[in-house]
């Protein structure tokens, strides 16, 4: 077991553990922080899987953007009510049942030989450059659509919130 492998498994374990933590935690804020840990360890796994650009995006956009928005949300809702951040659990049986069933099935299928292809550590040369050109060539259409998607999401969010201001509930 070399260092790289050790780091790999370490981050895998961290991700799994923090995910479990989210599931078990009854505090929204702690759960959000654990998600941050999870996202960062996943980013590390991306790096180890030769996907540096995805990893960077993960850290910048996800951990830096989405999560901050979510934490804002938590603050906002908890402040409005003044209630503690404690969260109850419901449907435990249903969730555990479907979660375990699904995982069992998935795990069963993943053991298939198709996914056990021996790894030849291919160094993807100039991955970043390829991604860049991809955005401008093969993936130009999705890129544009993503722009429109962002626009639509912004309009939507704006529509919802602007109406909130104008009409006091």
């Amino acid at each position: 077991m070399n260092t790289l492998t050790f780091i790999f498994y370490f981050f895998m374990l961290t991700a799994a553990a923090s995910a479990t933590g989210i599931l078990l935690s009854r505090n929204v804020f702690k759960a959000a922080l654990m998600l941050l840990v999870c996202l960062l360890s996943i980013a590390a796994l991306y790096v180890l899987s030769f996907a540096e650009f995805v990893a960077i995006t993960q850290i910048l956009v996800y951990a830096g953007g989405v999560l901050v928005v979510i934490i804002f949300g938590i603050m906002l809702t908890s402040k409005l009510s003044g209630k503690p951040l404690q969260v109850g659990h419901t449907n435990i049986f249903a969730a555990v049942l479907s979660g375990i069933l699904l995982f069992a099935l998935l795990a069963n299928f993943i053991t298939d030989d198709v996914f056990a292809v021996p790894q030849h550590a291919v160094e993807t040369q100039g991955a970043l450059q390829t991604i860049g050109t991809n955005f401008m060539t093969a993936y130009s259409l999705p890129f544009e659509i993503a722009g429109i998607l962002l626009l639509a999401a912004l309009i939507g969010a704006a529509a919802i919130t602007s109406f909130m201001k104008s009409k006091k509930v």
Binding site: L35, Y46, V87, T90, F103, A127, A146, M164
Partner: protein, 102 residues
Amino acid sequence: MMPSLQHLLYLAAFLFCTGLAVVMVKRNTIMMLLGIELMLNASNLNLVAFNRLYPASLDGQMFALFVIIVAVCEAAVGLAIVLRVYQHYQTSVPDEISELKG
């Protein structure tokens, strides 16, 4: 030597199922959002992992990038909606937001 691809897939499956469980279990809409983020990350992990099988094209990584963009949009719209509901219902417990039924 790198760990087998399957291990990453197992982790992704675990994250996916955990995310699903979080969505179903938590009595808080924002926590449900966290669960959804977990599920999306599971898919992303899959995509990046599978990209190692097909290194010639970077389809998997490209897809993962787009998923991150979409996740941002979803989070933005989702939070706006959650805040609205919170204004009306003064709660973010999904069970209590159930006037529409039958």
